[in-house]
Symmetry: C2
Subunit: 247 residues, 2 copies
Amino acid sequence: MQGRFSTHLGVRPMDPIVRRLRSLAPLSDADVEIVRGLAERRERHAPGAQLVAEGGVSAGPRFMVSGWACRQRLMVDGRRQIFSFMLPGEGIGFARRPALAATVALTALETVDATPILEAVRRGATPALARALAAMECLEEALLLDHVARLGRLTAYERVAHFLLELQQRLEIAGLGDKQRFPLPLTQEILADALGLSIVHVNRTLQQLRRGGLIELRSGVAILLQPEALAKICDYRTTAVQPIKAA
Amino acid sequence: MQGRFSTHLGVRPMDPIVRRLRSLAPLSDADVEIVRGLAERRERHAPGAQLVAEGGVSAGPRFMVSGWACRQRLMVDGRRQIFSFMLPGEGIGFARRPALAATVALTALETVDATPILEAVRRGATPALARALAAMECLEEALLLDHVARLGRLTAYERVAHFLLELQQRLEIAGLGDKQRFPLPLTQEILADALGLSIVHVNRTLQQLRRGGLIELRSGVAILLQPEALAKICDYRTTAVQPIKAA
DNA sequence: CGCTTCTTTGACGAGCCTCAAACTGAGTGG
DNA sequence: CCACTCAGTTTGAGGCTCGTCAAAGAAGCG
């Protein structure tokens, strides 16, 4: 289904990665070629598969090619908190440290090994990609802080609006979806565990947004009918993506 | 007051920093000397002072010497979310990126410029300190994830317990406080803004913990009367501080 | 179809927030 | 030394937000 989607739209598999990196720093054709070269070592994962175990060392840097994943932690009594989502084009395991949370596939997904890029960067061969990776790390932290503020200081209604706006933006950058419409292959349980709510309350909040004519949701596709109104609801500010100047 | 405290206990100003780094990686005497050498360039800040502006570039790496600070963000309607606290011995602005949140002094505090250490590390002069700084960064992210889980999946009662246990541990490492007792110079408003609660509810939750004989709080000092019971309440797991192996 | 997973709905209660006001303690100045 | 102020804490009352329990629809899938 996902594969067909790509084919029909003429989206080549590495496009989300290229688009995303380009949004972080201007890349030369040579840089882009390095990225496209990654396509060789592709890896498939089934939904539910654990990409990185909590406490384990990450199996090298990778990019998401298709599908969704998340970082999460479980409590002894079964409660779950999702820390972040990984979308096509985004990186996994670039930080060389023990994983502080498990990374789990939420849908069927594909990744590519990004080791060649990291090596090229270490050789100093591609300062532009180095900047892009630095900006990527920075953006990840920004998203985590947004998540904290969302959980700590927004109501359920605001949280859902804020989260949808964030996804819209990230997916648009990757070339999936536009200003209003994007794929959303998440169950309400997953939304609940990310947003710190119960399933039931997520359901009711979504309906409230629907009844208000703000969003539409069906069969894995979200439509933001009034993005500006949504942004107003939750004081949404685009997490600025300023490319980092070389040191 | 704070100065007197240090003098009486015979705590030298750089001790918290040394202790904290030592908890992250074994340091040689030479390493410790480098750290103690920082004491020259000390800086004072009044409570409420902004150490780093949101969006601004951090004014170089620093260590907290005394006092407390926090990273926070304000919403347009005045709501505030505190992302993290900075305690004596901990670092500020080591990541070379635009600040994603403002850093604000919560009490009178002192910092030292850590640039010399960063330079020594870059020269490769001190691999042990390099490991300690890497572990420091890692630990910071771990704390942030803990914070997310706290806000998303713990009740008010659990949140407060969890937070107090975290502070106890961090302060003990810095040599301030012991297994049960530690300084807590935070108003209930600050606690509320960190834990995603209202002031009133923080107050009631603290009293619930007091009535349960779990904690004691007075004039800026917290006492955990039953640390194990507290840990049980909130599924508290020490955020393991495993020194990172050299690459 | 018949299963399972996911969504939706209702009823109810608890957790947490808001508003408001009293109380405490540490200055501060007359 | 005693008001007086101000920031912070505590208490009460009431209500909204959100969670839990339970069960009934939908929707995907073999």
